[in-house]
């Protein structure tokens, strides 16, 4: 099993499962439509970014349920564990495939969000940037939680309990980024922090997640 072959395998499988893969996206659209519906119009501009960020977080959590569950159930994960290819690399490409399948579509939905939330292009692009910088770290943290809770009963709930406290700082920095830009200030500090977190989590994350998976499968 080479890394490239496994990456293409993951993509092919996600494509075959596209109906299940689309569910978190529908969830995102439905929840995202609720806020403009219930918020008073005056507040919508300030609440748009937080609302969309929380919706994104929830959609990511939902998608994470599928990350390792099936692999554990059909014991495919044992093939990954016994393969001569390093598990961290296999995990890394699996996560990349996951990001492309589940999170990239959310970016495509952003222009629609701009319409629903009456967001000017300027704010929308900062929001998009914050999502781009923040979602990799969220995915890594969530994948770690998924690896630790893989195969457990109530794994889904545990997944959320573990991911949410760890994700809160990311959320705060991302929203601070949007906030600063809205006030006309430079958002470089928050943006740099998010970028740094993304780099760190993407570089050591797969290795940690691989260890967590091994511990979980013992």
């Amino acid at each position: 099993m080479t890394v490239q072959r496994y990456f293409l395998f993951c993509l092919k499988l996600l494509f075959r499962q596209r109906r299940e893969v689309a569910l978190p996206l529908f969830f995102f659209l439905i929840i995202a439509s609720l806020f403009p519906l219930v918020f008073p119009a005056k507040l919508l501009a300030t609440l748009a970014a937080p609302a969309l960020w929380i919706t994104t977080l929830l959609a990511i959590l939902l998608s994470l349920n599928n990350l390792f569950r099936e692999d554990v159930e059909d014991e495919f994960v044992l093939q990954l564990l016994t393969s001569p290819t390093p598990l961290s690399l296999l995990v890394a490409v699996k996560l990349l495939a996951h990001w492309l399948a589940y999170i990239l579509p959310l970016f495509i939905a952003l222009p629609l969000m701009g319409l629903w939330y009456n967001l000017p292009t300027e704010s929308l692009s900062v929001l998009a940037l914050s999502l781009l910088l923040g979602t990799p770290t969220l995915l890594i943290l969530g994948a770690l939680a998924a690896a630790l809770s893989a195969g457990l009963k109530q794994g889904g709930t545990l997944l959320m309990l573990i991911t949410l406290p760890l994700a809160m700082p990311i959320l705060l920095f991302a929203l601070s980024m949007v906030d600063m830009s809205a006030s006309g200030l430079s958002y470089a500090a928050a943006g740099d922090f998010l970028f740094a977190m993304a780099v760190v989590s993407v570089s050591i994350g797969p290795y940690v997640i691989a260890s967590a998976l091994r511990i979980s499968m013992e």
Binding site: L164, P165, P169
Partner: protein, 212 residues
């Protein structure tokens, strides 16, 4: 181990007496500040227990030492209680001081996150029947969550917050009145003994159960 229990009681009584009776009235806050003697050591403990857990976690992951595993299994409940105590007493203190029970400033928020992390660790412990495996999973989670510790510690320095900045663990030395400092340290020692007393008991129980 019973001596831990006695030490806890002894220091506890000493600390409370010192804090309530002997320490001078604060210049700014009057008498109400005395809740600090319960609040501050509790907050210190919430961080200390987590640091101890992080060290145990590293030992568990690298060497799989059984004692470290038992210690890790026994600690989070106490850590969570200290965190909860710190948050509640902080809230009680905040009402007269700042006029509000809660505020989303950096220090309070990160302490709340710490509580959630403790709860998540406890949830994992409950979900895995095999104790040794549970310990290893908890270890990973503890290590990842330890990123939160420096955030808590330095949150009052990095952001302007409602919560007062550090007055004891500062580079210039403590800026607090000596009597108050003594009371604080006594309470801190008392809590420490409490933690060690109960955790040692739990560890002993786990060892016994394993040997049975």
């Amino acid at each position: 181990m019973p001596w831990c229990g006695w030490a806890f009681a002894l220091f506890g009584i000493a600390g409370l007496y010192w804090g309530l009776a002997l320490a001078p009235t604060d210049a700014v806050q009057g008498e109400a500040y005395r809740i600090m003697f319960v609040h501050v050591p509790a907050a210190w403990m919430s961080l200390m227990v987590y640091s101890v857990m992080t060290c145990c976690a590293i030992v568990v992951i690298i060497w799989r030492t059984k004692v470290a595993e038992y210690w890790l299994l026994a600690s989070p409940a106490h850590g969570a209680s200290f965190t909860f105590l710190a948050l509640v007493t902080g809230s009680l203190w905040g009402k007269p001081m700042w006029g509000t029970w809660w505020a989303w400033d950096a220090r309070l928020t990160s302490e709340l996150i710490l509580l959630f992390i403790y709860l998540a660790i406890l949830a994992m412990k409950g979900a895995i029947p095999d104790q040794r495996k549970a310990a290893r999973v908890m270890a990973m989670l503890t290590i990842v969550g330890s990123v939160n510790l420096p955030i808590i510690k330095f949150s009052v320095d990095w952001w302007t917050t409602l919560h007062q900045p550090a007055s004891i663990f500062r580079s210039g030395g403590p800026s607090i009145a000596p009597m108050m400092l003594t009371a604080l340290l006594l309470m801190a020692l008392s809590y420490t003994f409490y933690y060690f007393w109960l955790t040692l008991q739990n560890v002993r129980k786990l060892i016994d159960r394993r040997a049975a």
